[in-house]
Amino acid sequence: MAFQSPMPSRDFLMDIFRRVDKDRSGYISADELQQALSNGTWNPFNPETVRLMIGMFDKQSRGVISFEDFGALWKYVSEWQNCFRSFDRDNSGNIDRQELKNALTAFGYRLSDEVVGIMVQKFDRFGRGTILFDDFIQCCVTLYTLTSAFRQYDTDQDGVITIHYEQFLKMVFGLKV
């Protein structure tokens, strides 16, 4: 992915970590992370996205982020910021339908306007037909999860699978795990 961020120095990370860890517990909670992140508006960062990120980087499954995990999380957020900015061509602070289509095409997808429309509808939390930074992360990670699930069954890679009822349910339910 062309949005690589170099890993910053330990001191730099520690400085940020301390500022995010408001209660000085030595761990970053979902609330603290939510407060530290911005989606470019005065609305709180999408709590689903926060939970998603905690889930991805909380190596000890405690529901919080330790300093050891923080570097990887920081890098992840930075790369998403780079990605988002590169597709927010008009610098509006949000991604509209066409910009999303461009982003997905760049990721290697060939999706119809209809499906892109459904994605905007699903991830546009404020009903303005556009997607903010936090919703963009959610959208892309969801797409990635579904694609991975599909790919597992698509052994001949022809974009079509044949599956049983429970397999189908597990795949579509997989979103919330």
């Binding site: 499906v115 579904l146 599909f150 049983h164 189908f168 349910l169």
Partner: protein, 182 residues
């Protein structure tokens, strides 16, 4: 009929006074409409916890017919009935009255609702809802059942040979996954 910001209180019939009263109590900013956030303040499970954001968004989504993102008193009346129906179902299966539905109780509930799931799948559903304690609260139960109903319907439509399998292309799969889930 009642599209403005003022609560529409019908003269006769329509919504019962109790439900109207409750609506007014839930409608914190007295806008005449209830948002998911206001609903969260009103719906509580057996543990005294508010219904999850997911459950509240689902409820608003189901009853917000004019797609305003909010519900008026008539839509609220239907939602109230709906939630109570689910509460009754939940209580039926919460045999030990723990306020939670455990794996065995969920298995029975699904079976009686007409689903034929393997024990592995029931286990998957439980773990997905509550990885730690393996049980389901009433709001989680509602979300689970509604999702299963939606996905099952989407599957059934595509199961042209009615043999419990579907052949599905990637985009259609995405379409279903995104449209039916909450």
């Amino acid at each position: 009929m009642g599209h403005g910001p003022y609560p529409n209180i019908p003269i006769g019939g329509g919504v019962s006074p109790q439900v109207q009263q409750w609506f007014r109590a839930v409608d914190k900013d007295q806008s005449g409409f209830i948002t998911a956030a206001e609903l969260k303040g009103a719906l509580v499970n057996a543990q005294g916890q508010s219904f999850s954001d997911t459950a509240c968004n689902l409820m608003i989504g189901m009853f917000d017919k004019d797609r305003t993102g909010t519900i008026n008193v008539e839509e609220f009346d239907k939602l109230y009935t709906y939630v109570n129906q689910w509460l009754t179902v939940f209580k039926t299966y919460d045999v030990d009255q723990s306020g939670h539905i455990e794996e065995q109780e969920l298995s029975k509930a699904m079976s009686q609702m007409g689903f034929r799931f393997t024990p592995e799948f029931i286990n998957f559903l439980i773990k997905r809802s509550d990885p730690k304690d393996g049980r389901v609260s009433v709001d989680q139960f509602i979300v689970l059942c509604v999702q299963i109903q939606r996905f099952t319907e989407a599957f059934r439509v595509r199961d042209t040979q009615q043999n419990g399998t579907v052949t599905i292309a990637f985009e259609d799969f995405l379409n279903v996954a995104l449209s039916c889930s909450i």
